[in-house]
């Protein structure tokens, strides 16, 4: 088990989550994969929804709102 995977999971889910220590290396790797994919999917969905939202806004406010959203 790469310790960086365990560390990354701890940083995402909290140091005090003992559950991470209770999983086997393979299970931890699968959790890491699932969470990474979920973060990616979420970022993509939010970016797409934000772009669509910006498209619906009048041009003068689009740039400002885009900056606020940070996407």
């Amino acid at each position: 088990m790469r310790s960086d995977v365990r560390d990354r999971l701890r940083s995402w889910l909290g140091d005090d989550l003992g559950v991470v220590d209770g999983l086997s290396e393979r299970e931890l790797a699968n959790l890491y994969e699932a969470l990474t994919a979920a973060r990616h999917r979420q970022a993509t969905a939010i970016a797409a929804a934000s772009e669509e939202a910006l498209r619906q806004m009048p041009a003068p406010v689009r740039v400002g709102v885009g900056k606020i959203l940070g996407f």
Binding site: V19, E27, L69
Partner: protein, 244 residues
């Protein structure tokens, strides 16, 4: 059997949180239910917290605009996903003002994306009739996971109204995904004896998943007297079936 059913429901909820299927979360199947629930809650927290800063900024802008204009902008430009995430960063009363003017279908979809940690004060501030309409819409969609989450957010009055309004089938399925045993117990305790008998009948005469939901409900009630009563109705129902 009962802990397995509860774990199964937790795996479904974990899969939902991760936006994947239950087959993809079997890595957590070995965990005890309590750990599974803790893991799921942390996953939910991590995902919802990731983009909070941007949504907080949008929520700040909405404070400067009149409610009617916010509603118009949201419905025109924001998907229910975005609206839900922004609503999670608004004051519950303000978000509820907007929600009270939005279509039920839009709200139902937004509910799916609402941060469960912030849903309580918001749901409690929305017009109860509107909440009931959203619940009905989610039942029509078969989204019992979201409904189970909402159960925790509802007021006692809402719970009592909902429990008496929705079908036995829906109530059993929502119960499977309820976050809190205590809230589930409260909802069931508000039901009259005839309704509890009907629920036992529906569970025992339904498809296997509904029978499992009935067992899960029984196991999750944290009031021993209520559990015994419901179990008694189930025994009555079984005896009636045996006699006929």
């Amino acid at each position: 059997m009962a802990p397995e059913l509860t774990s199964r429901a937790e795996l479904v909820k974990l899969a939902r949180a991760l936006g994947t299927t239950t087959d993809d979360v079997t890595f957590a199947a070995s965990l005890p239910t309590r750990d599974l629930r803790r893991l799921r809650r942390r996953v939910v927290g991590a995902l919802y917290d990731e983009h909070r800063t941007a949504f907080r900024r949008v929520a700040a802008i909405t404070r400067t605009l009149p409610v009617a204009l916010n509603v118009r902008i949201a419905l025109r430009a924001f998907s229910p996903l975005l609206a839900a995430r922004v609503a999670g960063e608004m004051s519950p009363d303000r978000a509820a003002e907007l929600a009270n003017r939005m279509p039920v279908e839009y709200l139902a979809e937004a509910c799916v994306h609402l941060d469960p940690r912030r849903a309580g004060p918001l749901v409690r501030a929305i017009d109860p009739g509107r909440v009931l309409a959203v619940v009905t819409e989610l039942i029509d969609r078969g989204d019992f996971v979201t409904l189970g989450r909402m159960m925790d957010a509802a007021t006692d009055r809402m719970l009592a109204d909902l429990a008496t309004t929705i079908s036995d089938d829906a109530l059993l399925r929502i119960g499977c995904y309820a976050e809190s045993d205590a809230r589930l117990t409260r909802a069931v305790a508000a039901l009259p004896a005839e309704r509890l008998r009907a629920i036992a009948h529906t569970a025992l005469n339904g498809p296997p998943d509904l029978r499992a939901a009935g067992l899960s409900l029984l196991a999750r009630l944290d009031d021993e007297h209520l559990r015994e009563r419901l179990a008694g109705y189930a025994v009555e129902e079984l005896s009636r079936e045996t006699m006929t």
